[in-house]
Symmetry: C2
Subunit: 396 residues, 2 copies
């Protein structure tokens, strides 16, 4: 899905462009009750009730915590750790939304740190950030219970700090959203990843928690490498490490934020909005895709013999344009790594699209029809953007 040059750059930085190796290793593990659902739903083995299913799911903040570390060391701003806590939670929570789960969620966090470099105040900021995020969600009707977790001192493994979360939830099978229902004629409503919703305190750049290894090394320059060698794998070829043009505290002119804060912007949750949508439009949402790894092509995992056409995307937010400019990454590839403007998309019948846009607007969240689904042979996504028209096939 990417040209050889770029695939090489990815690989040299130690990031899989596809997760083929991992998928191979998981062969033999069942795909659950709904093989095309966004998350694996298994029978409710905890109660044995046949009408229910369970989802257990894991994800984390990835290498965004390495940037948080550098920024915190340079500026003393511990607030960035609350953002990392949110990243690790939302990467799970918003995956759950895609199968229709908007509450009764158990959350556990796993933190591995290098105690020599990451003191108790950081752990405290992460854990208390997690607690505050859960409280905020609860106040908005999303019950998310932080059950606890593990903090391990593993400096021989972890250079700075790694923050992961695992969630567990139960859902009535009648309410499961299964992407197998995505069909010809559906419109695709995208929910903006950038801006400032009614439930956020500050402008969100839209970055999320994907592509952070690329974003960090493509935006920031050697000053970060020199000042914080512990923030990256020094075994990576030198020309791949921090080959951007900015320091952490340079100001990005369009947003007025430091580049550090721009790239650290916490992953927005869509939970309150999706909860309202599912309450207002029961049974109307055919599918939902959280545009994480794979970006705007992620839907390819869930379709067969359909052609997904995205020809009315949001304008790419500043953060992604800056990453593209400093790295020279091909636009075709940008859409496969980053969300580029919407991190959640709903596949719905035409008459439901305006209802969703109106609900989102009540949260001061931009939403619009960004594309449609047509019949096709195999699996294909076409992106028609100001930067060109790009086609992606599943097995390309």
């Amino acid at each position: 899905m990417m040209n050889d040059l770029e695939a090489g750059k990815y690989s040299k930085r130690g990031v899989s462009s596809s997760k083929r190796e991992v998928h191979d290793a998981l062969e033999g593990l069942s795909r659950g009750l709904y093989p095309k659902a966004f998350c694996k739903v298994i029978p409710d083995v905890l109660t044995g009730e046949r009408d229910y299913g369970l989802v257990m799911h894991a994800d984390g903040a990835g290498t965004k915590s390495s940037l948080a570390y550098s920024y915190w060391k340079k500026t003393g701003d511990t607030g960035v750790w609350e953002g990392i806590a949110q990243d690790a939670i939302v990467m799970n929570l918003d995956d759950l939304l895609c199968v229709g789960i908007t509450g009764n969620i158990l959350l556990s966090s796993t933190i591995g740190r290098n105690k020599r470099l990451v003191p108790g105040e950081v752990i405290k900021a992460i854990i208390q950030g997690s607690m505050r995020f859960c409280e905020k969600m609860k106040a908005m009707g999303i019950s998310l219970d932080l059950t606890g977790g593990e903090t391990a001192d593993v400096g021989d493994l972890v250079r700075t700090v790694i923050v992961d979360s695992t969630v567990c939830a139960r859902i009535h099978r009648d309410k499961v959203i299964d992407n197998a229902s995505i069909r010809e004629g559906d419109l695709i409503v995208g929910l903006a990843s950038f801006g400032k919703t009614s439930y956020e305190d500050a402008y969100n750049s839209g970055i999320g928690s994907n592509g952070l290894t690329s974003a960090r090394h493509d935006v920031f320059d050697k000053r970060v490498a020199r000042m914080f060698p512990e923030s990256y794998d020094e075994g990576m070829p030198g020309d791949m490490a921090y080959c951007g043009t900015h320091d952490l505290t340079d100001i990005e002119p369009e947003t007025g934020l430091t580049y550090g804060k721009l790239v650290l912007s916490p992953t927005r949750t869509y939970a309150p909005v999706i909860r309202a949508i599912l309450e207002s439009c029961p049974g109307r949402v055919h599918g939902m895709v959280h545009c994480t790894g794979g970006g705007q092509t992620k839907v390819l995992h869930f379709i067969d013999d359909l052609h997904v056409i995205k020809d009315n995307l949001f304008p790419a937010p500043a953060v992604f344009r800056r990453i593209q400019e400093t790295s020279g990454t091909l636009w075709k590839e940008m859409y496969t790594v980053f969300n580029m403007g919407h991190r959640m998309e709903l596949y719905v019948p035409p008459e439901t699209a305006p209802v969703i846009c109106s609900i989102a607007s009540g949260f001061n969240l931009e939403a619009k029809v960004i594309g449609r689904v047509e019949a096709g042979k195999g699996r294909r996504v076409t992106i028609d953007s100001p930067y060109g028209t790009f086609t992606y096939d599943k097995n390309e």
Copy 2:
């Protein structure tokens, strides 16, 4: 609980001797329905049924994976990764046993790797090792469902590979084992951590997954540091790193195993044995302690105004004697870091002790009364060993 010199050594290696910082950060987080239970049990928010509780729990293989990495690189033996999978699972599973959970467990694994150093074959060995372990448990009546998990390429955070697991289970509140029930007059039955049970394929050294940062650096010598600098934090003071006397493949004479394999011996699960005990002796087990972080003093977290006397411990297995010899660690401290011979202890009325020993014996697992509980002021553990008599108080 340790003298200044040793506390310094711990700290220089970046490992908390106590987890005070972490406990401080968790202040404000509820301790659950049974504050003295080994794991936090919360109300069953998934179903709302008042008779049930839920446990969600996280732990991992810790820095044992760093040793597995070095051993695998040196010998090509991928079997060590199956052991790491078992370590990450059993560190959770055997914690769950302590509250009375022996089945209907959901398992998710989180692996963070440096893709430059850790190829797909390793990930495959870990995931397939997890699957095989779950199948083995199922065949013995312990239902443990691997729901999936996350494998992330995070070379900028992780030097080699980190393997964590999270579990979730549901239990009828009548069946919860609450260490608040440990009382004066109880006998303590210890279940051996070493030997070869009927459900194991090879001799188990008893090491478990605790104290591995100490064990690795105290047993192995600079040859490991030179050959595999990626296996440890080079920011650690040089005299703290690999200051032992052995290479990975040196033979330990008493066991005939390589030192690498001796220290990599996978964490034994007691699940089949505990399941049989709880079925045979319902309501008779007052408390259970998995002797992980804190070793033989771990029970101090769960008692008040009791004196736990351990005066008939198993002889220390070879692995712990070798660690002590090469490191010169004080024996008093050895008992706070390592299990020293039994990794599970049950607090029971005197008449129940022989029943437990007899059940264990059916699994070819050594078990014996290792001590007793007396009334006391505050919380105290006394260990009467061939190496001296040691007293530990909670706030020492």
